[in-house]
């Protein structure tokens, strides 16, 4: 499922990449940025943790003219007189203005590196509210954020991921250059899909999915294919058109004329009527043969 997520996050979606000290999720984040740039979308990056050179260094091969980096690395808390972007500017109005002033006609993708930095200085309800407002507003198409799960309390991580559309948790795998990604994706209809994959990031920042881990095999509900019972028989069960007409014309033994039918149907006063109320015994599920087992 990782390649599908790389193709594009749905409009109004929030993707959270959870990493920990044992494996950094920044490479995966760069893969997402790379994939978005290759799709010719404008990407705005709020960089708190790495400098612009370091990020662009990782994105060597990609078209970087659509990448707008907002420097929050040099002075995030506004200690100097002219900070570029401070953490206190993380609110709906400021971010919308920032995205709109440099962006093209299409709404952009906002990448936050990282959410943990913001959560240290802004309260969690405010961060969640800002993310929610950004998603509902029209300036930003989708948001991708990096979250260091071991830096926060469980409730904080849970609250941020509770409103996220997709969450990818990355952990180191057996082999050195591989990693395990546990993906949870919530669709708009409320369906939750979970998957677990082993992947490797190549030098040009494309993601190579090695295999699916055995635990993560997703049971897909497949529609049963209707097999035609009249096929592959030694005798003919189908009807041709003339045969069908002859069948319709056949007079059935107890068929009455229309007048007699209506007379019988709309019976006069005094005849009995059947009131049937289904009770618990009618709740017999044909598919479940053990429904009546009293175990």
């Amino acid at each position: 499922m990782l390649p599908e997520l790389l193709q594009g996050v749905d409009t109004g979606g929030l993707l959270v990449i959870q990493d920990s000290a044992s494996y950094s999720g920044r490479h995966l984040l760069q893969s997402f940025i790379n994939a978005a740039l290759n799709r010719e979308e404008a990407v705005h990056v709020l960089g708190f943790e790495v400098s612009e050179e370091e990020l662009k260094d990782g994105l060597r091969g990609s078209p970087v003219q659509r990448l707008h980096f907002h420097n929050a690395y040099t002075d995030p808390l506004g200690w100097t007189d002219h900070p570029a972007f401070t953490v206190h500017q993380f609110c709906l109005g400021e971010l919308t203005r920032l995205v709109k002033q440099t962006s093209h006609s299409k709404p952009a993708i906002l990448v936050i590196d990282s959410l943990s930095w913001i959560l240290r200085h802004v309260s969690t309800p405010d961060v969640c509210r800002t993310l929610q407002q950004l998603r509902k507003g029209g300036a930003v198409r989708s948001i991708i954020g990096l979250l260091h799960a071991d830096m926060h309390q469980r409730g904080t991580v849970g609250s941020v991921c509770h409103s996220a559309t997709s969450v990818i948790t990355v952990e180191p795998a057996m082999r050195g250059d591989e990693a395990v990604a546990k993906i949870t994706k919530r669709s708009k209809s409320g369906k939750v899909i979970q998957d677990e994959e082993i992947f490797r990031i190549k030098d040009d920042l494309t993601v190579l999915v090695q295999s699916k881990s055995s635990k993560g095999a997703k049971k897909a509900d497949s529609e049963e294919q209707e097999t035609d019972p009249t096929a592959n028989l030694t005798f003919n069960l189908r009807l041709s058109d003339t045969e069908r007409e002859a069948k319709q014309k056949l007079a059935l033994p107890f068929v009455f004329s229309k007048a007699k039918k209506t007379a019988l149907l709309h019976s006069g006063p005094g005849s009995g009527r059947i009131h049937y109320e289904p009770d618990a015994n009618d709740d017999y599920d044909q598919e479940d043969p053990d429904d009546d087992l009293d175990v």
Partner: protein
């Protein structure tokens, strides 16, 4: 809480819609007869249905008017949201008024996803309900060629479409038709539309909760749900659905930190909500993401403040999903609290091991029973074991290991 009493001078002349007989008890009835409610057989409280008949049974017949049902959400909020939708859909079908409040999704979105009722004998809003008359086009009579005597009878659904009109059944795969939904009056509260004013410094409640409580109070007073309001013939019930209260989007950090600063904001709100409900003809269902709350003491006090409390635990995503014990079910349901209204103790459910399953036409809650053991090795003995056992039996003749492999 007293059941809403009204000193009606004369007994109600009209037939209540849920009686199928013409027999009327000759009492000077002091209970208001509101469509979609019925008095409890245990203590005479006025009950409404939650929309899920198995849940009604679990709660002792239904939700008492004036109480709060707390649903602790499952991890991905799928089944708790489903129960909230059932509750609201039941309100639409019974013609109650609805009030929906949410911080994450627009209440209109929740209202558009309501499941379609299986309308068998619910005779409202269906235009084609008239009995077939004789000037029917002949095509319809030919529709049933052989079983034509059964044409005029209504279709009987064996999935227990309601005959009692207290609980209804819903088809989850379809959404409710807009005509039916728009016939019901809905009040909405969407938190982002209410700009937050600064709260007074010593208040224990957050602005979002105060705004919600004020809005509720205003709706109750304006629409006449207050019990103290002057009696009119038509009383109705207000069904309140509060989605995901306590989550970070309401401005509450109860779910975010281990030691939240606003630890008492939600409990204060629930106290105020219950006071409002006790003095009005309304029922509330509150869902809460309790898996995010780390402080169990606050969770305990939240549970005590609501009259009914259930917790849903879905198997999705946990290691229990592949456990063969649970393969028939979608999750477990835990009853945390049953109400004791006007009494010291109440009827607890018999079994604690309850599981739920969301089928297309029914949300069923059952006692967890083991699936039958259909594996091959149950009653047969494998050859390897037998060979090993005979050597042991000959050596020491102890009963326990040898009995299993007695071969006659």
């Amino acid at each position: 809480m007293a059941a809403p009493m009204s000193s009606v001078g004369k007994p109600s002349a009209e037939r209540s819609p849920f009686n199928n007989t013409s027999f009327q008890k000759k009492t000077r009835s002091k209970l208001i007869s509101i469509p979609g409610t019925r008095p409890s057989v245990q203590n005479g409280q006025l009950l409404v249905s939650t929309g899920v008949t198995s849940l009604d049974y679990l709660l002792g017949g239904g939700l008492a008017v004036g109480t709060v049902l707390l649903i602790e959400e499952d991890r991905y909020d799928s089944y708790s949201r489903m129960i909230l939708k059932y509750f609201l859909a039941e309100g639409v079908v019974c013609r109650h008024e609805l009030y929906v409040a949410a911080a994450q999704d627009n209440p209109d979105d929740i209202l558009q996803e309501l499941p379609a009722p299986i309308l068998d004998d619910v005779a409202m809003h269906k235009p084609a309900e008239q009995p077939r008359l004789s000037r029917e086009p002949p095509d319809a009579l030919d529709a049933m060629k052989i079983a034509w005597r059964y044409q005029n009878l209504p279709k009987v659904q064996t999935a227990l479409a309601s005959s009692s009109r207290f609980g209804h059944y819903y088809d989850v795969s379809k959404t409710m038709e807009p005509e039916i939904r728009q016939a019901a009056k809905c009040h909405r509260f969407y938190l982002p539309e209410h700009p937050t004013q600064s709260s007074p410094p010593h208040s224990t409640m957050l602005e979002s909760y105060s705004a919600l409580l004020k809005s509720l109070q205003e709706v109750i007073n304006r629409e006449g749900f207050d019990v103290a309001a002057p009696m009119s013939n038509s009383r109705n019930i207000l069904r309140i659905g509060l989605h995901s209260l306590g989550s970070a989007l309401w401005g509450d950090d109860l779910c975010c930190h281990d030691n939240p600063k606003n630890g008492r904001a939600l409990t204060t709100f629930l106290y105020g909500l219950r006071a409002l409900l006790r003095s009005s003809l309304s029922v509330a269902v509150v869902t809460l993401p309790s898996h995010l709350i780390q402080d169990r003491a606050i969770m305990g006090s939240i549970t005590r403040l609501c009259d009914n409390a259930i917790a849903l635990e879905s198997f999705k995503g946990s290691e229990r999903e592949t456990n063969p014990l649970y393969k028939d079910y979608h999750g477990l349901i835990h009853v945390r609290q049953v109400p004791h209204l006007n009494c010291l103790a109440s009827k607890l459910p018999d079994h604690k091991d309850l599981a739920f399953k969301l089928k297309r036409k029914q949300f069923s809650i059952e006692r967890l029973h083991l699936p039958p053991d259909l594996s091959d090795t149950v009653s047969r003995v494998s050859r390897g074991e037998l060979a090993g056992a005979t050597t042991v039996a000959s050596a020491c003749g102890s009963g326990s290991s040898g009995n299993k492999h007695l071969d006659f």
